[in-house]
């Protein structure tokens, strides 16, 4: 029973990580019709700015460091949206995807040149365990779950209760109609990208305790996050959360039941199964 609980908690935590990846993918997709395959490197950049610049170089505390990193990465999001994503949105989709991959490469090499080749970490950050009888849960997992819930709640509130959020939903629904209603579509896209980049940054910081800060820290989670989005229903925020949770828990249970080699296979078997049975995803409408 204890083991099942431990697997469940870490599975839910990793599920929320995948869900957040799915959400930040979805935001840009809904706004611009663009798949940002460079997002994995934005997650890494957020972790590097927080660990390398805010904590190790400037010696800021954990919370001011997080705020500083999120503001910087969100600002980068605006620059990227204006200079790359918005001009790309009307191009051939393959070219646009290639450009996002190249953006990821540029970020990757810039990080390597600036911060150096060696991995780093923030000692003492979200470390330690909670003990409840024989149940031992890493604090990092509880924090990840809490952070993800706060982000989902705030995002929901923002989308439904603010003028900008409502405008984002209009743009996602119909860009032409949104423009005719007087919504500045370009600036709305820039805000969406900034929010997506800010989520990437928080995600990068949140996974520092479960993965050191290095160039490939987000490779696997970004792949699984994409799978989570498709499993739930691509383009739907609740779908991304549901897909992420299913994946996180399923792969943890699979790692216990089957030989450990098959643990990572689960996400992609789920992805293929959903694509074959219901391509629109679990929450998607049948065509």
């Amino acid at each position: 029973m204890t083991i099942a609980m431990q697997l469940l908690v870490s599975g839910i935590a990793m599920g929320f990580v995948y869900a957040l990846v799915g959400i930040e993918y979805t935001l840009i997709w809904n706004s611009m019709g663009l798949l940002n395959f460079g997002h994995e490197k934005v997650i890494m950049l957020g972790a590097y700015i927080y660990a390398g610049s805010m904590i190790l170089d400037m010696g800021l505390g954990f919370i001011p460091g997080i705020m500083g990193a999120v503001i910087l990465v969100a600002a980068l999001g605006v620059v990227v949206a204006v200079s790359i994503f918005i001009p790309l949105r009307n191009m051939n989709r393959l070219c646009a995807i290639m450009a996002t991959v190249m953006l990821g490469n540029i970020i990757n090499e810039a990080v390597r040149l600036y911060y150096g080749p060696e991995a780093m970490t923030v000692k003492g950050f979200m470390s330690g365990t909670f003990r409840l009888g024989s149940l031992v849960v890493a604090k990092a997992y509880i924090y990840i779950i809490m952070i993800a819930l706060v982000i989902v709640f705030l995002l929901n509130l923002f989308m439904k209760c603010t003028k900008v959020g409502k405008a984002m939903r209009c743009v996602a629904s119909n860009k032409t109609a949104a423009a005719l209603m007087g919504i500045n579509v370009r600036s709305n896209m820039a805000i969406t990208t900034a929010i997506s980049f800010a989520i990437c940054c928080v995600l990068g910081i949140a996974i520092i305790p479960v993965s050191s800060v290095n160039a490939s820290m987000a490779t696997m989670i970004s792949l699984k996050g994409f799978a989570a989005g498709v499993i739930g229903s691509f383009g739907s925020l609740p779908g991304a959360i549901l897909g992420g949770l299913i994946l996180g828990v399923a792969e943890n249970i699979a790692g216990m039941v089957f030989p450990s080699t098959f643990k990572d296979v689960v996400a992609f078997v789920f992805l293929i199964a959903v694509l074959m049975v219901k391509p629109t995803g679990i929450l998607g409408k049948r065509r």
Partner: protein
């Protein structure tokens, strides 16, 4: 239309900038003169030209991008050795010159890099460091008859490769993993061992050697694998706890250690633990909390606190060349020594012909090195000793040498 053109130009610019940045890692040679920074178009070097007094080109396959990154240390060690050899008159009266290629820690990039080095007429190749890449390219160097001195330690190099041009400059996992497994059994009398290993060639190879040893002495084991990029190994560790393992052996690359060590500590898998040399790498230890790995043992090729005079002289020279803050690890030490072994082979062969050099390398005997003396056996294995160390307050302390 104009807009499309502008976007196309922007895309082309992005790609060019990205490619330039990717290549950026190769021109930071730390002030040495040994590296060939110009990739000339001389793809067909004739034997006559090679014998004319031109520099002797040595190929280097280093992980300069990708993760885990150790290529810069490896390159630094190689360039330092080449500079020293050149200052002492070179080899066969000619200067040595390094052609450093990035293998990016992926097999496809390693294959391209190998083909490039061969087309540029290198006399021998130092690296790659990882078994999976070494195994991917061994047939290419065999066909091209270019000797290669790899750092990979997978038993597959011996069991599955029949290659007279393949040499290994670190103790194989047949020795390392078996010694680590034997230490757990002999020193702690363990009855069931958790083997946590990477799912790549290196990790699986180490697990197989250890499993064979445990089978031979009647000790049970529970083998659990993970990807080096994994961010959660809870289920694997809980499985080991569930199986009541009283000893742990970890065989993986540096990338996996912080997460495995942290989760073992958090979930309570506390038992005598021994690891492969990755634990002894400074950049790996720098990511750990002392309590996670206190008292862990590791087998390794190189320790900076080894009191051997040659080792201490190398550390002093390395830090004088690259800066006192630069960490010295097995990557710079092992490949520094590999250059001397290759230079010795070329000198004894009296030629830069690949077949002659390989033959001379097979006859290598008592060439001093920082990771042990080089003595080549019939399988191309040149090092036959390892160091046993123990982690105390994030420092690996020297315990003994195992021959």
């Amino acid at each position: 239309m104009r807009k499309r053109k502008a976007v196309s130009i922007l895309m082309a610019g992005l790609m060019m900038f990205s490619m330039a940045a990717c290549g950026g890692g190769q021109d930071n040679a730390g002030g040495t003169s040994a590296q060939n920074v110009e990739n000339s178009g001389e793809t067909e070097k004739t034997e006559a030209a090679a014998e004319s007094g031109d520099p002797i080109k040595i190929g280097v396959m280093a992980t300069l991008t990708g993760y885990p990154l150790n290529g810069e240390h490896m390159r630094n060690g190689v360039l330092m050795a080449i500079d020293e050899i050149n200052e002492n008159g070179g080899v066969l009266g000619r200067q040595l010159e390094a052609d450093v290629q990035d293998c990016s820690n992926t097999t496809d990039v390693a294959i391209n890099a190998t083909n490039k080095l061969i087309s540029e007429g290198v006399v021998g190749i130092i690296g790659p460091h990882y078994s999976s890449q070494g195994l991917a390219i061994e047939s290419i160097i065999k066909e091209a008859q270019v000797p290669m001195l790899v750092g990979g330690t997978s038993p597959k190099f011996v069991n599955e490769c029949d290659n007279d041009f393949l040499f290994r400059i670190r103790a194989s996992d047949d020795l390392q993993a078996a010694a680590a497994a034997a230490y757990l059994v002999d020193e702690y009398g363990v009855t069931k061992v958790a083997i946590l290993h990477g799912s790549d060639d290196f990790g699986t190879g180490g697990m197989q050697v250890a499993a064979k040893y445990f089978d031979s002495v009647g000790v049970e084991y529970c083998a659990q694998s993970f990807n080096n990029e994994d961010t959660d190994v809870t289920s694997q560790i809980l499985k080991c706890i569930n199986e009541n393992c009283d000893g742990v052996m970890i065989w993986a690359t540096e990338a996996a250690y912080p997460i495995v060590a942290r989760q073992m500590s958090e979930l309570g898998l506390q038992a005598p633990t021994i690891t492969n040399p990755s634990l002894a790498v400074d950049s790996c230890l720098a990511q750990m909390e002392p309590s996670w790995v206190e008292g862990w043992y590791c087998v390794t090729d190189f320790l900076t606190n080894n009191t051997n005079q040659e080792v201490q002289d190398f550390i002093a020279a390395y830090q004088a060349e690259y800066g006192a803050e630069e960490s010295v690890d097995l990557h710079c030490a092992a490949y520094y020594s590999a250059v001397y072994a290759l230079a010795d082979g070329i000198e004894r062969a009296g030629s830069t012909n690949g077949e002659d050099v390989a033959k001379a390398l097979r006859e290598t005997k008592d060439v001093p090195g920082l990771v042990g003396d080089f003595n080549c056996n019939e399988d191309g294995e040149m090092i036959h000793e390892i160091i046993l160390g123990q982690c105390k307050d994030l420092q690996i302390e020297y315990i003994d040498v195992i021959q």
